[in-house]
Symmetry: C2
Subunit: 184 residues, 2 copies
DNA sequence: GTCTATACCGCGATAGAC
DNA sequence: GTCTATCGCGGTATAGAC
């Protein structure tokens, strides 16, 4: 049952919801048909569990960087430059392309919540940077937070399109260079 | 045949490659089975034509903004703020999530080329801004170009996740505010 | 060129045995 | 709880008539 969820997470990441069949999940989890349908009502319910799990993991991984000591830019930079499996893309952001996920409120909710959390967490950090004089007052925390999150998500897209991590790294460095710096 | 391509473009945009069946295309194009397979060897070939077409259209639409008069920031801002069907996402960027597209060199090529073009075109504009003294020398044109493209692609992702254009608009404004300004 | 018929396969789920 | 059998449906393609 744990294996079913983990396998579903992997397959959703790689192939999305539409591209993932119950049979493929069972194969990957080394579980039988009966087992899967005993624990979960169907594909959607299993996907829901997997997406929620992935959302929690994303938050935990991000929070690790956010809690690092240092200035706001330090923490944001840590987060942006964290080691990532860039060419696999974002497990959550990916689902945004899936009409069956976006069309089902149960599946969509964890996706929406994950990004809502991420943006508000980033906004807190930017706001703190403003309070401490690291950033000018005119910098809008919500806007900047959205920009940071977007660069990551878009970086994945560009990298996958190019088949190379380069565009991702360029985009991230480009953003870091644009962030206001008190020290320069 | 023209209708087949157009319908495929629409369906790929909405449902992706995996989620689009030949039958659905035929329905949308009001064409028969035989007609489709007469003109195209199969789903992949038709998709290739549709993706190439969408790539050309994306380039044409972007070039329209890039050719506007004004400073580099003006032109970039025009491009970023152009009216878009944000919640539908990017027709090309979307395909990046599709393993069957990324796995087929024929289908992947037009996706890769479109973004390669976009980034190099944006880099030219940034470079011109540097030459004209609008941007400082230390601004890296390729990095900044990647950042701009990423904000758009990521903005779509965030907007779709939220079910609202707001995050897209925040991300775009956040980026514009981060761009160096000679006039302020 | 376009139509209809046909084929084979895998999807997603249910049923009932063990 | 897990297994196997079975089901109806749609995906993707081919064949041959018109």
């Amino acid at each position: 049952m744990e294996r079913l969820i983990r396998s579903t997470q992997e397959l959703l990441w790689e192939r999305g919801y539409v591209g993932t069949s119950p049979k493929a999940i069972q194969r990957a989890a080394d579980a039988g048909q009966g087992s899967m349908y005993h624990h979960f009502a169907g594909k959607a319910e299993l996907a829901k569990a997997a997406i929620e799990r992935s959302g929690l993991e994303l938050r935990a991984a991000a929070e690790e960087q956010f809690e690092e000591p240092g200035t706001a830019t330090d923490r944001i930079t840590h987060y942006l430059e964290r080691e990532r499996d860039v060419l696999r893309g974002c497990r959550i952001g990916r689902l945004t392309a899936d009409p069956d996920v976006m069309g089902d409120p149960e599946l969509r909710a964890p996706v929406a919540e994950t990004f809502a959390w991420l943006r508000s967490r980033l906004a807190e950090i930017v706001a703190e940077g403003k309070r401490k004089g690291e950033y000018p007052d005119r910098l809008d925390a919500e806007q900047t937070a959205a920009t940071i999150a977007a660069v990551l998500q878009g970086g994945y897209v560009l990298a996958r399109a190019a088949g190379s991590v380069e565009p991702f790294e360029l985009a991230v460095q480009g953003l870091i260079n644009l962030l206001p710096e008190a020290t320069k």
